[in-house]
Symmetry: C2
Subunit: 247 residues, 2 copies
Amino acid sequence: MTEQRGEHIVRAFDAELQELEQTIVRMGGMAEASLEKAVDALARRNSTVAAEVVQNDREVDLLEQQISERAVQTLALRQPMAADLREVVAALRISGELERIGDYAANIAKRSMALNQLPPMRPAHSIPRMAKLVQGNIKRVLDAYVARDAALASHVWESDEEIDETYTSLFRETLTYMMEDPRNITPCTHLLFIAKNIERIGDHATNVAELVYFLVKGERLEGGRPKGDTSSYAVVEPTDDHGGDAS
Amino acid sequence: MTEQRGEHIVRAFDAELQELEQTIVRMGGMAEASLEKAVDALARRNSTVAAEVVQNDREVDLLEQQISERAVQTLALRQPMAADLREVVAALRISGELERIGDYAANIAKRSMALNQLPPMRPAHSIPRMAKLVQGNIKRVLDAYVARDAALASHVWESDEEIDETYTSLFRETLTYMMEDPRNITPCTHLLFIAKNIERIGDHATNVAELVYFLVKGERLEGGRPKGDTSSYAVVEPTDDHGGDAS
């Protein structure tokens, strides 16, 4: 009888863990879709789609609240140990990272609404390519989470460097474009922040990769974090023939 | 005998909670000091101080790891319930927020190193004032945490709006300055990102305020989050007489 009851509790706990995992996957899918839609709204200059992304961020936030409440409830009721405890703590943290991804996607959408009031800018064409890299990482890190695949998590972690490099080159291109014509400054500033948001989303996907690795292996990913974004140190000088042309 | 043992366990648990709290306060103090030093490095154009801030961020990160490991250990060993569980989960989350604050401070320091290679920019003077507001909020939210003061936490939460408004006006001022002279574009871009970093630090202090409120009250802060940063929607147009002057 006691054993049966014990089994029953174990099964209920497994079901709770599974539900946490499913909610995280759903939340991750929503965050990734928000990024895709926000970048699409930018590329196609569609403010209606952008407004939808801003609106939907509320749902991502609610899912985080839900995961967080469930996780704390599970800690209190089941008092899990070792690997089970890691599962619940990982769920709590991963949902925090995904919530930030949703926030950044919503900010991209807001800025694309501002951009739609202004003439199209050439550097905007590089945004979707950068976003695709990041989306790929979000997708793969969620797969790594579901499959408890530390190697895949580690792969995502390493590939953040390419995203950072893409950002740094976009940063320089956009600054040069701003120097060509003062009318480019406002739209290009929004593009700079959009690119930075995408780079940050990449960082959050990397954080999730670290959490998944720790969840599976019980130890931290080794070595310094790859860091390709050198734009914080960047100095871009205007050339002599870029005197600006506001006329 | 059993009671004594129970008391002993309780005391050990209280000591662990106290240690967690002290480590968080230490970490918060370091993060706040990093912001202060980074802004000082900017104002005084001192790259040595800036390099120290970048260097010290590693210590803030290590404290977060330490808190996170201790918190998970405490969850496993003590299996706390209700209010005690909230304490441990709050420690886990607050340390995550403080780690982000440290990261943003380090990024401000990196950018001030880039700025030191360039001529001084007028909008840089508005940065320390904005940073002071944010520092005040970090200080008060740590006080609120130590005193378990929900009213003070709620006050910090509300005053984030002033920071956002300061940021939005700094954003517009900086854009106008960029339009005046293409040589201002690179330094002003770094200033824009610095201001944005400070605004984000303010957001993280607000997140801590929410966590402290929940820790004390067991319920969420009510009402929509105050949101004064409207710069994502901002469109700043160059005036006719700002034709740029690169000569």
